[in-house]
């Protein structure tokens, strides 16, 4: 018994010793890029034509020692992740695998593994989260030669992240359920507060989902302050059935008739409708809606940096950006040379809010925490 307890005691001492440094040290290592002054972010029109001449063909990549494999942290829909990694693998002969995580989960994963990253490149998901990650020193700047083709408003000048697609937030409604409830298709954020929609609205949780974070920040942008936004979200909470983990899941719930309205990116709604849930229809709030610039970034300490750079170069090409529509992912391409699917949202027809990505990214931690503490557990 004595031996055993001695062993336990010494383990406990060792525990105390090594448990101390687990509290994440503030990252002092962020030499080159300061995300504070980074992106020309507060953009009203994400699709404004690029300054650079869009006609230059993408420079071809011929790496000297060929990388063998690549692990992608992938945030968009699973089938798009599969199509992209397969196309990349076929083209470059690099064995490419991915794990799909929602934006917030992806950020949490990068935090968790920052001393020993598992992933080399992060693709997809709103730029806000990329900015949050850059602020924490989790990303490595990389200015791809192909980034020149991407409009300035859709990338970080220091190369911490580069835009790969654009999408607008919308309402994705099940028209059968709406007509059962005797409610019109929602046309404004205020419409979502209709008491007839009690328990009939779904959105994701902003801590785990970038989509939901975009929706939350949209309220900040349109109402002018975080407090006003939370006042609205608190009212909306009365009608919310469930905050899901991943951003597009509420669209599936609407498609199955579990709820009447979901707040998701409009391209996901079109995707689900095209895949058989044809009772789904998209509408946009007239007060203005938020939008995302989906990003791509090199992860700091990436185990496969060369392959990761090849991935970033490639996803910025028109060719790679035209893969989305083949798997019914209708985000708008950021490369002006990429063909735009007719199923994609026409941003000129949608009123957008003035979405400040830098602010949104930097406030992420604080806002998600406030959401968790004030909204999700608020009484009904």
């Amino acid at each position: 018994m004595k031996r055993l307890s001695a062993l336990i005691a010494s383990t406990a001492v060792a525990l105390a010793a090594c448990a101390a440094p687990t509290t994440p040290a503030p990252s002092a290592s962020q030499p080159t890029a300061s995300p504070t002054q980074a992106p020309a972010a507060s953009v009203a029109e994400p699709t404004k034509p690029p300054a650079a001449e869009p006609t230059t063909p993408p420079p071809t990549e011929v790496p000297a020692p060929k990388p063998e494999k690549l692990t992608v942290l992938c945030t968009p829909q699973e089938d798009w992740c599969q199509a992209m990694t397969k196309a990349f693998q076929d083209k470059f002969g690099i064995q490419t695998s991915y794990v799909r995580l929602s934006s917030g989960e992806a950020l949490a994963k990068l935090r968790a593994t920052k001393d020993n990253p598992e992933f080399s490149v992060w693709w997809g998901g709103p730029a806000d989260t990329y900015i949050a990650a850059a602020t924490e020193g989790l990303l490595e700047p990389y200015i791809s030669p192909n980034a020149a083709q991407i409009p300035d408003a859709q990338k970080d000048p220091n190369g911490l992240w580069t835009g790969v697609y654009v999408g607008a937030l919308g309402f994705c409604s099940n028209k059968n359920v709406l007509s059962q409830l005797g409610v019109e298709k929602p046309k404004s954020w205020e419409d979502l507060l209709n008491p007839k929609l009690k328990g009939q609205v779904a959105m994701a949780h902003p801590a785990s989902s970038g989509t939901a974070y975009t929706a939350v920040w949209t309220q900040v942008a349109r109402l002018g302050s975080v407090d006003a936004a939370f006042e609205y979200l608190n009212k909306l909470h009365q009608n919310i059935l469930q905050y899901t983990k991943s951003g597009s899941a509420p669209g599936q719930m609407a498609g199955r008739g579990e709820v009447a309205v979901s707040v998701i990116f409009s391209h996901d709604c079109v995707k689900f409708a095209d895949e058989g849930m044809d009772m789904l229809e998209v509408s946009f709030p007239e007060e203005g809606t938020g939008y995302e610039i989906g990003g791509v970034a090199l992860i700091k300490g990436a185990p496969e940096p060369e392959a990761a750079k090849m991935w970033i170069d490639w996803v910025l090409t028109a060719e790679a950006q035209e893969i989305g529509p083949t798997v019914k992912s209708y985000q708008l391409p950021t490369n002006p040379n990429a063909k735009v699917s007719e199923r994609s949202v026409k941003l000129s027809e949608v009123k957008l809010v003035d979405y400040n990505f830098t602010e949104a990214g930097k406030s992420r931690k604080e806002i998600t925490k406030r959401f968790e503490d004030e909204i999700t557990v608020a009484p009904k």
Partner: protein
């Protein structure tokens, strides 16, 4: 005896394993929870009304599920043991009731949405209702159907052990059947009922999968804890919340074990004497059997829905037949998850099976101080909710383990760790399944006279040979139990490994969670179907390999409490 080197080595290995794989990660969580930062969060949790609400939600859910689940389990046990009914009917009810044990979590929850959701087959299309199953009602239904088997097997075991002479005596003295039930049978079963109740309570409050799918806005501790880690990597909040969940779970688990040991005292008087008079009164038999059949039908319906959903594009929304879900799981993206999970579970099964027998031997036959500490340490593996081990492993093994400056272990968790993080996952599988094996081993060994082993030693065999040639064959049924249990549990574990999966190690249950969460029910159903098939196949193979002698043993095999959340 302790001078035998083999015994000493076994003791050393078992102790080290328990210390490293169970005690150390738990201690790491505790240290984090009581660190200044953790204490602040803990103060927050205990002081703020929002958290009071979450804690209250968790407790209410635990109580409701425990009460209903135990009642259903009791009904099934009573029908099985005490009622006169055709054997095939009992067999059918028994087999269907066992399915939840070998099925992954989520399965029931998704099927419930498809069947009883707002647009569910039964609620909406047959009855024209639009009920609200999200929140407590859905959680209660899903958890009751997932966990009642535990109560059923426990109580059936106890009822079989009751001495029929007591019933007979009471009846002979003129008591009615109802009177006998109320004043004789029920009081004897009280410790067992209380034990089942506590076990289900612990399972319910630790469950993560059902709240993620069906929770609605009914926030419970386990789900909040999950979001703190997965959504924010806020490991301090995670650890603090763990502590809140840990204390009641561990305390109640051990109270339950103690009650169970008291309950079995009933049988110590010897083998049940006489034959039990089965109840044939139709006024009793018909309602009880109908109730049991109704629930059996519900369970069967749920699993048939899963099977149908696996062959459907999107059950409910688009009912076209398709092979694509299986293509995805068997040949496509899911095939790696399938092979990874099965391989790791098989390794864990071997390790857990053997380890639990060795520990059982040490606990029963060993004559060293601290035996009960070894027993207790092993049991912690199941008494502690899985999520807490997930956090503990992250805290403990996300960097090399050093003791006094000497590196004992390399980094175990995360994709950059050795074997792509697979070692940590297998360790979790082992510690989660060893306790059941240990209990099976202990009770088997207690029935074997040590004289047999002593004889082997006195004619010259050493401890190692005796254990391998004499003891192990004698406790073969217990080993079989341990291995079956270990495999089923490893394959269906979710909460303990959610934080530990890496790009190199794909786990089926986690893929099921992803598919469910994203609303791709077809793929999720196909995964569930394949997973159940694998578990049944391997159980069959284990039976064939290790062998069991009679049909009766199969019941004892599955009668081991699969305790704590079926995750």
């Amino acid at each position: 005896m302790t001078r035998d080197p083999a015994l000493l080595i076994a003791l050393l290995i078992a102790t080290l394993f328990v210390l490293i794989a169970v005690v150390y990660p738990l201690a790491a969580t505790l240290v984090q929870a009581v660190s200044p930062e953790g204490a602040r969060v803990l103060g927050d949790v205990l002081g703020r009304p929002v958290y009071h609400r979450i804690i209250l939600n968790t407790l209410v859910m635990g109580l409701v599920v425990a009460a209903i689940g135990t009642a259903v389990g009791f009904l099934f046990a009573y029908v099985q043991v005490r009622l006169a009914a055709p054997a095939w009917l009992k067999r059918l009810i028994h087999l269907v009731a066992l399915v939840p044990v070998v099925s992954p979590p989520f399965a029931v929850a998704i099927a419930i949405i498809v069947l009883f959701g707002r647009s569910g087959f039964i609620t909406s299309q047959l009855l024209g209702l639009r009920p609200d199953i999200y929140g407590l009602p859905g959680l209660t239904l899903a958890m009751t159907l997932s966990f009642f088997t535990v109560a059923y097997l426990n109580l059936a075991g106890l009822m079989r052990g009751l001495d029929p002479a007591l019933d007979e005596a009471a009846t002979n003295l003129g008591a009615s059947k109802w009177h006998v039930f109320r004043t004789v049978t029920l009081p004897l079963l009280v410790p067992g009922i209380a034990g089942s109740f506590l076990l289900l309570f612990v399972e319910a409050i630790a469950d993560l999968s059902n709240p993620l799918v069906l929770g609605g806005n009914y926030t419970v501790l386990a789900a909040r804890l999950y979001l703190a880690i997965v959504g924010e990597y806020d490991i301090t909040t995670g650890a603090a919340l763990s502590l809140v969940l840990l204390v009641p779970s561990v305390v109640l688990y051990f109270v339950q074990l103690w009650l169970a040991s008291r309950a079995s005292v009933v049988t110590v008087t010897g083998k049940p004497s006489g034959r039990l008079q089965l109840i044939a009164d139709r006024r009793v038999v018909i309602p009880l059997i109908s109730a049991a059949l109704l629930i059996t039908a519900l369970v069967a319906l749920i699993y048939l829905t899963i099977l149908a959903g696996a062959f459907t594009v999107s059950l409910g929304a688009n009912n076209a037949f398709t092979w694509r879900n299986f293509e995805f799981v068997l040949l496509g993206y899911g095939s790696k998850a399938m092979s990874d999970t099965t391989t790791m579970s098989m390794i864990a099964t071997l390790v857990a099976g053997l380890l639990s027998m060795v520990i059982a031997f040490l606990v029963v036959r060993g004559k060293f101080p601290g035996r009960s500490a070894l027993d207790l340490g092993t049991m912690l593996g199941i008494a502690v909710p899985g999520t807490i081990f997930g956090i503990g492993y992250l805290l403990a093994f996300n960097k090399p383990t050093t003791l006094l400056g000497v590196t004992l272990l390399p980094k175990l968790t995360g994709g950059a760790a050795i074997l792509g993080g697979a070692l940590a996952i297998v360790m979790v599988y082992v510690i989660r399944s060893a306790p059941a094996g240990l209990r099976a081993g202990v009770s088997a060994l207690q029935q074997i006279d040590p004289a047999i082993e002593e004889a082997s030693i006195s004619i010259g065999a050493d401890q190692a040979v005796t254990f391998r040639r004499i003891t192990l064959p004698l406790i073969r049924p217990a080993l079989l139990t341990a291995m079956i249990y270990a495999f089923a549990r490893s394959m269906t574990t979710v909460s303990a490994i959610l934080f530990l999966t890496t790009p190199q190690t794909r786990i089926m249950t986690q893929q099921i969670l992803n598919e469910t969460e994203a609303g791709r029910f077809g793929n999720a159903f196909a995964y569930v179907t394949v997973l159940i098939a694998i578990v049944l196949l391997v159980i069959g193979a284990l039976f064939a390999l290790i062998g069991n002698r009679s049909g009766a043993e199969r019941d004892t095999v599955l009668a081991q409490p699969p305790s704590a959340s079926q995750l």
